[in-house]
Symmetry: C2
């Protein structure tokens, strides 16, 4: 998982706390037996096969996968990353447990690396330039895994080179940015060596979070085009989305030295952290500190942009009945360092799931109704690059044929509960899967019943249900949902929020994210991995094997109602500008009516013996509903974003994002007609999308 967006910040006084956006994941099981394969047009989900798969997903094999995957650092495009490409190919081409076929696709993409010769440096200097203090260039080698040539030093990918020097830049003239992770945000306040890894799951004082600071996703030089060697490339000087000034991440051990010596006024209360001192705003060092008052922080960043070949690995199980319908399941392969948690907990699950299905396939026990595509994406950490290039290269096929995309990136953040993000149509299939599987531990609860204890909401349709989160752009599902309109989800096991407020598991993107960290602290016994493997595996089989696609399009109605409810807060001001919500209300009602009637038609068909083409027609409506929410004219400034319900929302009102954003801008702009015209345009785009969506759910011979 990747991604960080940092705003503001000052050289010499970096109190930038909140990073990234979180992503999804997996787990393993065991056992086997043999129902008969079928190739009839009415082939449906076989519950015995499903039980077999769930049984066979083996926790210990996931553990062994993880050990292998994380034994060396495998930063994107490095030799170890390429070695893992071969490992995946070998597994998926195994005669006993492989898939029907496997191949790689390569892209030539623009990555960013620290210089091998000139390390990035952060130092405090006096007025003559003499160095008074230097931040570490690498993390402390606490477990023997933090040294060696393959551990990439901490850096901020895509931050430009430069050597800014200052203590606290002018409010709007920031020259460079230091980033660190505060113990208050990541360690529940713990900061001492004996409180942190390898003594606990907490981040050691020298740990530094790496990350990409590219604003968009996909290869920076080839937006909307696959990054084949011959493709048109922007000149990197013309590429957009890179930070304008140097950035360097440091550990909280070093941040403490800088921050606790800063002078000036006391920073606001919610800027204070866990470094054991008052955080001041600067400018300058304090008079009674360890640095002279005119000392300055000097930052040298020597990152370099490089074109590199990055591989995706694709493994395919051909569908027996509808080979032209694809259920995709993927995770990235590349890490920042060893990447045991991120992404290898996901890849370990991916390999175990493909092994179990591959074995049934090779035995002749099973072949899914639809095709299954497993994917191992490259260069995700730099900006979802492998997955995005894949969606660009296979745009037409995927748009026409993809049923759903299942993403399992980090499969285990923590041991407490399932966590799912996705679009509304996937809720029902995830619930069905989660109800069928026992939660890890001795509670005796199903994954579903355990989940609802941690994260729930009151549904107007179903009553109390687990809450499914929405999809941002934190992992490889982003191009699938935002660019292609494919129903997508991200699955993981995660925290008990009553026990930790850590922003994310503490060693995230550091050299301390290692196999032992997972094995000892995150998921000893790997039962959470297994739970994710079983859940995601069940979802995958239900999507690939069910006669009727288990997508409930009607579940979009609750989302639309909640967006509509939020839009009511805008009504007064909208009407003052001559903009009516009436057409939106009507469109939501029409969608609800069409979805309800559509589900009734499915229920009626299921009572009889529908012929194969009737089923296919219904399934096409189910598959393509998500596509109807795309509008390539809606957000011309937002690269790839075209889903009118899930585009980024910058406005504060939790309604349709285009409406929310345009309203927010118009309100700030006062009475500017063009700003209110854009509000009306966004409203019309949503209305047209909802009317179009409703139309596709009506009986197909009605126009």
């Amino acid at each position: 998982m990747q991604w960080v967006k940092v705003l503001g910040g000052v050289v010499g006084a970096a109190a930038l706390l909140g990073l990234g956006i979180i992503v999804g994941h997996f787990a393993i099981p065991k056992g086997a037996d043999s129902p008969a394969p079928s190739a009839s047009a009415s082939q449906d989900l076989d519950l015995k096969i499903l039980e077999t798969v769930i049984e066979q997903l083996d926790a210990n094999r996931i553990r062994e996968n993880l050990r292998e995957l994380s034994k060396e650092p495998h930063l994107a495009t490095t030799p170890r990353d390429e070695a893992l490409v071969q490992l995946l190919l070998q597994r998926w081409q195994d005669p006993e447990s492989g898939l029907d076929s496997a191949r790689t696709t390569e892209y030539e993409v623009l990555l960013s690396f620290p210089s091998g010769e000139q390390p990035n440096r952060v130092a405090v200097v006096n007025s003559t330039g003499a160095i008074l203090f230097s931040c570490r260039h690498s993390e402390e080698n606490l477990t023997g895994e933090q040294g060696g040539p393959n551990v990439v030093p901490p850096y901020a990918a895509y931050a430009p080179p430069g050597t800014p020097q200052a203590v606290n830049a002018a409010k709007y003239g920031v020259a460079g940015v230091l980033v660190y992770t505060d113990p208050k945000d990541i360690n529940d306040g713990k900061s001492l060596p004996n409180e942190t890894f390898p003594h606990s799951w907490c981040l050691p004082p020298s740990g530094v979070e790496r990350g990409s600071y590219f604003e968009y996703f996909g290869d920076p030089l080839t937006p909307y085009l696959p990054a084949t060697p011959s493709s048109f490339r922007l000149n990197s000087d013309n590429a957009s989305g890179f930070p304008p000034i140097p950035i360097q991440p440091i550990g909280f051990e070093d941040a403490q030295v800088l921050l606790c010596n800063l002078g000036g006024n006391l920073a606001p209360a919610d800027w204070q952290g866990g470094l054991g001192c008052d955080y001041n705003l600067g400018p300058g060092f304090r008079s009674n500190g360890i640095f002279p008052e005119d000392g300055q922080v000097n930052v040298s960043v020597h990152n370099r942009l490089e074109l590199r070949n990055s591989s995706n690995v694709l493994g395919i199980i051909r569908g027996a009945v509808e080979p032209d319908r694809y259920v995709l399941y993927g995770n990235h392969r590349d890490s920042w360092v060893h990447g045991a948690v991120d992404p290898s907990t996901g890849t370990a699950v991916l390999l175990e799931l493909s092994r179990v299905l591959g074995t049934l396939l090779k035995k002749g026990t099973w072949r899914p109704r639809r095709s299954i595509v497993f994917a191992s994406w490259g260069a995700e950490e730099f900006g979802l690059i492998g997955s995005t290039e894949f969606t660009e290269e296979f745009f037409s096929k995927l748009q026409e044929r993809a049923v759903a995309y299942i993403n399992v990136d980090i499969s285990v953040f923590a041991n407490a509960t399932l966590r799912v993000q996705g679009t509304p149509p996937i809720q029902s299939v995830v619930f069905s899967a989660a109800k069928q599987i026992s939660a890890p531990g001795s509670s005796g609860l199903s994954i579903y019943d355990n989940w609802i204890r941690y994260y729930n909401r009151s549904s107007s349709v179903y009553g109390l249900v687990p809450s499914v989160g929405t999809l941002g752009a934190g992992s490889d599902y982003a191009p699938f949902i935002h660019f292609l309109g494919i129903s997508s989800m991200d699955i993981a096991y995660t925290y008990d929020r009553s026990k930790t407020s850590a922003r994310i598991y503490p060693t995230y993107h550091t050299a301390f994210d290692t196999f032992d960290y997972v094995d000892k602290f995150l998921d000893p016994g790997f039962s959470s991995h297994q739970a994710v493997a079983r859940t995601a595996g069940s979802v995958l089989l239900r999507l690939s094997d069910s006669l009727f696609l288990p997508l409930n399009v009607s579940d979009y109605s609750e989302t639309l109602r909640s967006f509509l409810q939020a839009a009511e807060d805008l009504r007064v001001l909208l009407e003052q500008h001559g903009i009516s919500l009436g057409p939106l209300v009507t469109a939501v009602e029409r969608f609800e009516g069409a979805a309800t009637a559509f589900n009734q038609r499915i229920a009626t068909l299921q009572e009889g013996t529908p012929d194969p083409l009737q089923v296919r027609m219904i399934n096409d409506q189910l598959m393509l509903l998500e596509r109807t929410f795309l509008n390539s004219q809606a957000f011309p400034e937002e690269r790839y974003y075209s889903h009118v319900l899930w585009a980024p929302r910058t406005g504060s009102v939790a309604t349709f994002p285009g409406l929310s954003n345009a309203y927010s801008q118009a309100k700030n702009a006062g009475h500017e007609p063009a700003a209110w015209a854009e509000v009306q345009r966004q409203l019309s785009i949503v209305v047209a999308a909802l009317e179009g969506a409703a139309a596709t759910l009506r009986p197909v011979a009605d126009l």
Copy 2:
């Protein structure tokens, strides 16, 4: 049919000759009998039904339809246009010969009309402003049909109001434009009253060609959104695509008075026409003419923009087996005046074809495999408005489900031969239909064999074949092919070019385009109408009833080869700028290989007994191939155009339009890197589209 783009021109000396772009059409037959309907998944084209339909299409009924349709002027949104909406609804809801359902969809669109109170005026004035000469305000009432309140006076729709006065504006400071149609271009030189209608098919001296001067298509205020009453609308001041200066069309009778008295140098030879005098360039009137040398031309244009409700009429026959696959067949309904030829020759055929099919349907004799959608579009003459709004409103459904669009606008331009425009996949089905039907007249030839005598080409695959033209934006097929990527065609009967060089039939868009004109001169006996009805009807049935869709995607290979061949002329200069054609060559080869293999798989399947889902999967590949050529990022400046093979070509090289245009601009720009970067970008877009197209034709479980 609509559409005119005028460049340049000067007040007082209007020698603007070439107008418009031509469009398609239909015809009728008789008789009946009754094969049994089928609803099995393997339902295929029934040749007996096809023969029955061909037999029953009745020339005399087409003639009577035409008489009714053209008896009054029916300019878009006028009461007579609305009356014809009711006529269509009534026909399509007839219990004996109607369709399964029929309805209207209304849009509120921006049209342009001359003022009722202040007629547009063109006059010659002297230096005191006294009027020396006035052009006619209306055409001469030669047949009793050129008078009356419903004959809209000649005007240039969307030309802004204004009263420019000049004799010959500065080269780049044109104040207004007069447009006329020269007898050399339209009448094979004939210009005398006794040589022209009602004595021949030629344009009378007072005839004036109306037209729309809007640059884009669709409702001008709601690009990309359906023009529902509540939709976002541009302020008409902000709308783009309107002419910047007043324009007024006049007849050649009046043009002669102005042009033959013009002074200055002799105009170039190819500007000379058939008005019986030398055409001079001005400025000013000549000294020995009928006007004083300082006389000026004064033009008053009082056109007004008005929001009006325009209706489409849709009639549906539900498919028996695949109701979610739509074969669309449409024509516009609105005319400039009586519109006997344009568009009623097409609508007369549409009504006869829907009657014959409706009768078989109501009798229970037949129901097509797929759904058929008949459409009567509104406000085409103003810019394909009804059809474009339809594609905007039903975007998702059409993109997912439309098999093909058949357009028959003007069905008979002349009596000589079939004329078809379309994308390559429709060639084969048109040829099959044309081979099956006898040509009108006593030649004994099939329509195909007659056609090949007039318009042919040497195909590298098939040898000598009739030549199918390409689709521009001259009629309602434009949004279907360019915006939605639906395989489209336009069908008509047309000229023997050895007998006339008229740009189009002479009374085009004038008040002389009446029933008698068709009945006496264009198609006495209506056998050409019948031939078009039979051809288009056969194409419609083949597309709606064949088990395998009769679209030959492999026929795109010849187009790609010819574009590639033309691109070879660019190779040297491209390579000088570091741009290689290699990837394009490879992509074309891959497309050819994939298409050939795909056709072989179809042939193999056809030999066996393919199951319904196998057929459906193949048909989806056939249906969606055209969609794979769309790229919404390709031509950001060109409203609606997204088909990378058929976007407008402004460059002179007959290759891929984006490449041709960018190359042409870059060549003119010299060594400007950004211009050559755009060439590479366009090349990469084409390569990605061709690779994507090839990918969709490969076996569906290959990625």
